[in-house]
């Protein structure tokens, strides 16, 4: 029986999952990154270990957490510790990958979760602040950025730099004393971008089926670099993966409903 094709959120979750390799320790936040990580665990990466910032780690399989402090993040965990311990695991090289959303992402993968428009005191919109975002961006080996891509969310200049990516490009991240490789990929509804190995500027890596580089560029407030070879086409998620996503990972459609639930 044919099933409905993936909506943009489901494709995004599928693309996020594709960046997770079996055996990794994964630092999980709320929302689509959690959906992507659980999808990976239930499909190609059953041996990943989840770490949550409030102190939960390696929970027994169960319902999807609504919150990174909720019961599902420490469900029958053999060990549950403290927040500073969770971040220290990232600093000490025990976390392979983390996922981060933001209100703004720039061409070097720096993130803004503080305010939009104006300045610190005369902002247009004030946002939630750093949370654990700055800590993970500063410490984790591989950082994957997640966002719905348009020119305002991917601007030429951030209104505030909350969490460091590659700062001003080149070796500036390393010079600033930060740990890890920094952002390795950006996953949006359009596809997957990575960063040029030398300049550290964002470039197109792979695009979802049916879209093209012109569309990606039109949804970006700065010039996207093009890969040396051909742009990969990301396949649509196979039916069996979509079924797992819809029936096991997020059966309540908390995060994969499109258009999204009103928050």
């Amino acid at each position: 029986m044919a099933i409905a094709p993936a909506n943009p959120f489901e494709q995004l979750a599928f693309n996020l999952a594709s960046l997770i390799e079996d055996g990794m320790v994964v630092y999980v936040g709320t929302g689509l990154p959690m959906v992507g990580a659980l999808l990976a665990k239930k499909t190609h990466a059953p041996n990943i270990t989840m770490v949550y910032e409030s102190g939960g780690q390696d929970p027994w399989e169960g319902p999807m957490p609504w919150s990174v402090g909720g019961a599902a993040t420490f469900r029958r965990s053999a060990l549950t510790l403290e927040m500073p311990h969770s971040f220290a695991m990232a600093a000490n090289g025990y976390v392979d990958i983390c996922f981060q959303g933001a209100a703004q992402i720039d061409m070097y993968g720096n993130l803004n979760t503080h305010f939009i428009g104006g300045g610190f005191h005369d902002f247009k919109h004030r946002l939630s602040g750093s949370g654990g975002g700055n800590d993970l961006a500063s410490l984790t080996e591989k950082v994957v950025l997640v966002g719905l891509q348009d020119a305002s969310k991917f601007p030429a200049k951030l209104d505030f730099l909350t969490s460091p990516g590659h700062l001003t490009g080149g070796d500036s991240r390393q010079k600033a004393g930060l740990l890890g490789q920094g952002p390795i990929a950006v996953v949006s509804q359009l596809g997957i971008m990575d960063f040029h190995p030398v300049s550290k500027r964002m470039r197109i890596k792979a695009i979802n089926t049916g879209l093209n580089a012109e569309i990606c560029q039109a949804c970006t407030g700065f010039e996207l670099l093009m890969p040396d070879g051909e742009i990969e086409q990301i396949p649509i998620p196979p039916d069996d993966v979509l079924t797992v996503l819809r029936e096991e990972v997020d059966p309540q459609k908390i995060f994969i409903q499109f258009p999204p639930r009103v928050k």
Binding site: A71, P84, H125, G129
Partner: protein, 368 residues
């Protein structure tokens, strides 16, 4: 800058934050006064139980630096915050990672200053009330942090270290808005580090599952920053689901993380984390959070009305629970909160337990 300043702050941050009188910053990092206070504390192992009303009246003073403990709406002493509001405490500083609950305290003038890390409720999004608090000057930000870097400040305090060197906050513009944090060079490696001072709040209220009458306390589930907070704050109030015999902790010391010596008051407060969750005990009251973030936070009038009803219109947690039961179809709702939490933790069989949540506010109405 300020020549008579007690401590040396990050001057660019003082300028950016428009802080002219730095004395407002001093208490948080004043280890000397913290230590003197500790030395004066009653050391005797005696029954420290008292009512919530008495504990808040005795140990929370206007202008204190108060913590947001637990994790926003997980094992957070929210019923104690409600009592702070009912007693009309004023001009508190709020610090915590996360620091979600400061918002409604700020709205009522109970909190005035913020050491900011995170405000909001994850998927429920930005807190519009906090945005208005800051915009209208009801709240003033004294410093900007990440969860982890602030947590390191509490850990430094717990372990008696004057400051820690960190790899967090480097390259972030938060450095320009945090008077307490400085960039320096690691004397061993020559690499850049941030220096984060030991942070000493005036008062912390920690909601635990179990404590004895002396203040030895157990935490189940994520401890978040609470072990560090209990050791770094000048005054420590434990609210707990149950007061258990001291012998129980002696025979089963696992999860005992707060020693009686640091504790000033023990309040037996069943359901003290409602409308948040308490691991092992009850789930969060999801509808309450949906109402406050999606409806009440839209206007000051609506928020005033909301808090009048739920906080000022309740004498204590039982009054709150009466209202909750009334709105949620009776007393079985409270039982269901216990069932949901325990099923999600897999302490009871979860097959057949539904975590389905029907939004109480139709999505078609006045889209947010």
């Amino acid at each position: 800058m300020c020549v008579s300043s007690k401590f040396q702050y990050n001057e660019k941050a003082l300028e950016n934050l428009r802080i002219k009188d730095t004395s407002i910053l001093d208490h948080l990092i004043d280890h000397q006064s913290f230590r003197e206070n500790s030395l004066k504390k009653n050391r005797r192992k005696e029954d420290k139980r008292m009512s919530l009303k008495d504990a808040i009246a005795k140990y929370v003073d206007d202008g204190d630096i108060c913590t947001d403990a637990g994790f926003a709406y997980v094992r957070t002493p929210i019923q104690a915050y409600f009592e702070i509001m009912r007693q009309g405490k004023k001009n508190l500083h709020f610090i915590g990672s996360p620091n979600t609950n400061q918002s409604y305290l700020m709205f009522k003038g109970c909190a005035k200053y913020s050491h900011n890390s995170y405000v909001g409720a994850e998927m429920r999004g930005t807190d519009r009330l906090y945005v208005r608090n800051i915009k209208q000057g009801r709240g003033i930000v004294l410093s900007e942090w990440g969860h982890g870097s602030m947590g390191q400040g509490f850990k430094a305090a717990q372990y008696g270290m004057p400051f820690v060197a960190s790899k967090q906050l480097l390259g972030s513009e938060m450095l320009d808005y945090n008077p307490y944090v400085k960039v320096d060079t690691d004397p061993f490696t020559g690499q850049p580090v941030t220096l984060i001072p030991a942070l000493h709040p005036d008062v912390t209220i920690i909601h635990c599952q179990q404590a004895d009458m002396f203040g030895n306390a157990k935490i189940f589930g994520p401890a978040v920053n609470d072990i560090a907070l209990a050791h770094s704050a000048r005054k420590v109030i434990i609210t707990c689901e149950e007061v258990v015999p001291e012998l129980q902790l002696r025979f089963d010391p696992a999860f005992t993380v707060i020693p009686f010596v640091v504790v000033d008051a023990v309040v037996e407060l069943p359901f003290g984390a409602l409308p948040g969750a308490c691991p092992g005990y009850y789930y969060w009251y999801r509808e309450w959070w949906e109402w406050i973030f999606r409806i009440a936070s839209k206007t000051d009038e609506a928020m005033d009305h909301y808090l009048q009803y739920w906080v000022y219109g309740s004498d204590d947690q039982w009054g709150f629970i009466d209202k909750m039961s009334q709105h949620m179809g009776g007393s079985s709702y409270l039982h269901n909160l216990k069932r949901l939490e325990r099923a999600e933790e897999y302490l009871i069989e979860d097959k057949g337990v539904s975590f389905d949540y029907q939004m109480v506010i139709p999505t078609s109405e006045g889209g947010v």
